[in-house]
């Protein structure tokens, strides 16, 4: 586990050396920051803002606009259910429901033990396997609500 200071140092190096403290690189910087910290709490946003010489409200405006950025820490395993059209017409809403039921949390939330987060995403490009569920980098295709429990049980 790295210390906070190390993480901020890495971010600073990126902002200074690769982005030249340029405000127009904000989205790239936020991507990197999220990679480093796992999420984008206000302290990190304020830090980025000061580095770029802009008001933190501008950073927050961008962070809250894009769904890829998160201000909440994510669980160890992120369960993403594809809600693209192809998956939807093959019942991905029922998959989501089952996942929510099993974990007892709603879409977008993280379990109290920090193990699982449920998210939805739009079309992973595996429409042939619809409906599709991903856990971190692993993809499960052609699943039914009945399969969900055994898939989650593997983690």
């Amino acid at each position: 586990m790295r210390t906070n200071e190390e993480m901020f140092n890495e971010l600073d190096r990126f902002i200074e050396q690769e982005c030249n403290c340029d405000e127009q690189e904000l989205i790239a910087i936020l991507h990197r920051a999220q990679e480093i910290f796992g999420y984008l709490p206000m302290v990190v946003q304020a830090h980025v803002a000061r580095k770029l010489g802009i008001n933190v409200s501008k950073v927050y405006g961008v962070v809250s606009f894009y769904s890829f950025f998160s201000m909440e820490p994510k669980g160890e395993y992120v369960i993403s259910i594809c809600m693209g059209t192809a998956c939807f017409v093959r019942g991905s809403d029922k998959i989501l429901e089952r996942v929510e039921q099993i974990l007892g949390i709603k879409n977008g939330q993280t379990t109290a033990d920090g193990k699982f987060t449920i998210t939805t995403l739009r079309c992973v490009g595996a429409c042939g396997l619809a409906p599709v569920l991903q856990i971190n980098d692993k993809t499960y295709g052609n699943i039914t609500p009945e399969d969900v429990e055994s898939i989650i049980a593997q983690y």
Partner: protein, 633 residues
């Protein structure tokens, strides 16, 4: 490989040297000395372990001592995702579908060692015949792969393979043999229209950008594929990244730009990785970067990540996002061609549009224009999905009918269900019904029918799909993705969605339909950007084609497709119930109980559902072994 190419001749010499890489694959030959096995590296097949398949094939080749007789490589997407993972064997062109890691041993032992085809891995056509080669599969017969020409053919991580497939020859032709105006003329004459949605003529767009007076101009590749049912841009970038880089440089030469950006979804890690490799390799070879092929023309490409906002597919929003801001569209005019990225003239095209450019320059405008229809030339890639037998990426000539795509290529509707509608154009498009199946697929015909081409999502729906629910699905998407800047889109679409929610919950009233139409009209004519303006299309088109279904929800409080849960009631038909109890054991809420009556089986009592406990999940129906099923909704 790292010597810089400094003239057209050098590029052509190199092409001569490496072209056999491709030729030995494309020239059909039975029982060859050496095999080349291509494994699909598209995201769909990757999810089905195609990387492990490659490893395993290599492993078995070693085990059987045939390493020198076989090459195994990962390629771009074959498009036939429904049957993935796809393994294609050159030069005999055997096309294996649904290959598993377990089958790899057999492929090496039988196919490579004994030239023996493994029958059960072959695809079965609609008539039940097993087919050996890709060309003879119904799915591919009517396709004409131009944008996808190299996907599945080349290894996208090797620039030599791209060069072997005539990569960068179009750029060389433009730089050495043509003036910028001539390049634009050819693109204009080809009739190519933007493949990202609205179908604006590409040549004209380039001309506007060229005519804008500025020392600095930009070229942007829009790879922010946002339609929730389309993934052709991703497949092109993953399967043939060089064709996009080459085209951007051609455009840069034509309009006078020396810098390009690829704006790509951060959710596409594989495409990003392959683009990075491609840019590095092309730059090292002098095909990109400073002083391209010794001509003095420079063109540098940077990658910018999107961060999850559908609206960034709109070009002004995309530009703001590249500038590090919220991706809110601004009013056009001024168009990006006058005032785009950092206030400079900018030309934005989407990935699929770019992928067509080298073909046009190498084969001539008239060749391209001869494909398709008069006003919609060339081909279009569709992501065929939904209730369809052969889903996947298909590239068809414009003007082909929906019926041909759905039945001839897609193999029709699975499980003997009835076709109901096809949705094109994603959240901006509409639903077409049975009577529109013979509509030619081109920009203008689809618009005339109340849908649109869009980026190429094509979702087939069957009798189990509720059209109100489908409209609601798309509207939910638009509401979630609306940038929130203008009133009609921000509030109007939400209000429409609320009405649809009411209708699907059985709380709708007839005047809601009037209200939907009223709101839709205002949103269409007064929203700020094209996304807002087109957001009501799915609702309007379903209201037009399937009004009865709306009325059934409102008046009869019934969902004819049996899909809207609030309007459903599950019931066990006592006479059909076998009394097995599978339904009760699988009911998550214990809503199913045993009755004191016997049903189909005289020895076991039948079951019944307590409607107060039932959450209408449908688990019981899927488990019921009776034929016909004893549970009705």
């Amino acid at each position: 490989m790292c010597t810089k190419i400094t003239s057209k001749e050098q590029l052509l010499t190199m092409y001569d040297n490496v072209k056999e890489l491709i030729e030995k694959r494309t020239t059909l030959q039975e029982k060859p000395e050496k095999y080349h096995i291509s494994v699909c590296g598209g995201t769909g097949c990757m999810s089905s372990k195609s990387e492990e398949i490659v490893k395993s094939l290599k492993h078995w080749a070693k085990e059987y001592g045939v390493e020198d007789k076989v090459e195994v490589a990962i390629t771009g997407c074959f498009g036939f995702c429904e049957r993935g993972p796809i393994v294609k064997i050159f030069p005999d062109h055997t096309f294996y579908t649904k290959v598993t890691v377990e089958e790899t041993e057999r492929i090496i032992r039988r196919h490579v060692c004994s030239h023996d085809v493994i029958n059960h891995l072959l695809y079965k056509n609609n008539n039940g015949e097993r087919v050996f080669t890709q060309e003879n599969i119904d799915f591919y017969k009517k396709q004409n792969r131009i944008a996808l020409r190299n996907c599945g053919l080349i290894n996208p991580e090797e620039i030599a393979e791209s060069i072997a497939a005539k990569g960068y020859q179009a750029l060389a032709t433009a730089l050495f043999d043509m003036t910028p105006d001539q390049v634009i003329e050819v693109v204009t004459a080809s009739g190519l229209r933007g493949r990202g949605g609205a179908g604006f003529p590409t040549g004209l767009k380039w001309k506007f950008a060229k005519n804008a007076k500025s020392k600095k101009k930009y070229v942007i590749c829009n790879a922010d594929e946002g339609d929730p049912g389309a993934f052709m841009d991703r497949s092109i970038l993953e399967g043939d990244p060089h064709s996009v880089l080459e085209s951007m440089a051609i455009c840069g030469y034509a309009i006078g730009a020396d810098e390009g950006y690829i704006y790509i979804r951060a959710e596409y890690p594989l495409a990003i990785k392959r683009l990075r490799i491609a840019i590095k390799q092309a730059t090292e070879m002098g095909l990109l970067g400073d002083n391209i092929m010794g001509t003095g023309f420079s063109f540098n490409i940077k990658i910018k990540y999107g961060a999850g906002a559908f609206v960034c597919g709109e070009e002004t929003a995309l530009i703001h996002s590249i500038e590090g801001k919220r991706g809110e569209p601004t009013l056009k005019p001024p168009f990006p061609a006058e005032k785009g990225l950092y206030g400079k003239p900018t030309n934005v095209n989407n990935v699929e549009t770019w992928a067509n450019i080298p073909y046009i320059l190498l084969n001539g405008a008239s060749n391209f224009a001869s494909i398709g229809t008069e006003k919609s030339t060339g081909t279009k890639v569709f992501a065929l999905a939904g209730k369809i037998n052969n889903g996947g990426l298909v590239e068809v000539p414009m003007g082909i009918t929906l019926r041909e795509i759905i039945y001839d290529i897609g193999g029709g509707i699975p499980n003997g269900k009835k076709f109901k509608a096809v949705q094109t154009g994603g959240p901006s498009g509409g639903c077409l019904s049975e009577k529109d199946l013979d509509t030619p697929v081109d920009y203008d015909s689809l618009v005339a029918k109340g849908s649109m081409m869009g980026s190429g999502g094509m979702i087939v729906l069957d009798e189990d799909d509720c059209m109100v629910n489908i409209a609601k699905f798309y509207l939910e998407f638009t509401v979630e993705e609306s940038c929130g800047k203008c009133t009609p889109c921000r509030i109007g679409n939400m209000r429409m969605l609320e009405i649809l929610n009411r209708i699907t919950e059985g709380k709708g009233e007839m005047h809601d339909l009037f209200e939907l139409e009223n709101l839709a009209t205002t949103i269409q004519s007064s929203a700020l950007c094209a996304l807002g303006q087109s957001a009501p299309n799915p609702v309007l088109s379903t209201l037009k084609e399937f009004r009865d279904e709306y009325v059934a929800h409102i008046v009869d409080k019934k969902c004819p497709a049996g899909s809207c849960r609030s309007l459903l009631n599950y019931e066990i038909v006592t006479d059909l119930c076998l009394g097995c109890g599978l339904c009760a054991r699988n009911c998550p809420t214990n809503a199913i109980y045993r009755t004191d009556k016997t049903g189909a089986n005289a020895r076991l009592n039948a079951y019944a559902i307590n409607p107060d406990k039932c959450v209408k999940c449908g688990a019981c129906v899927s488990k019921c072994p009776a034929k016909p099923k004893a549970i009705k909704k």
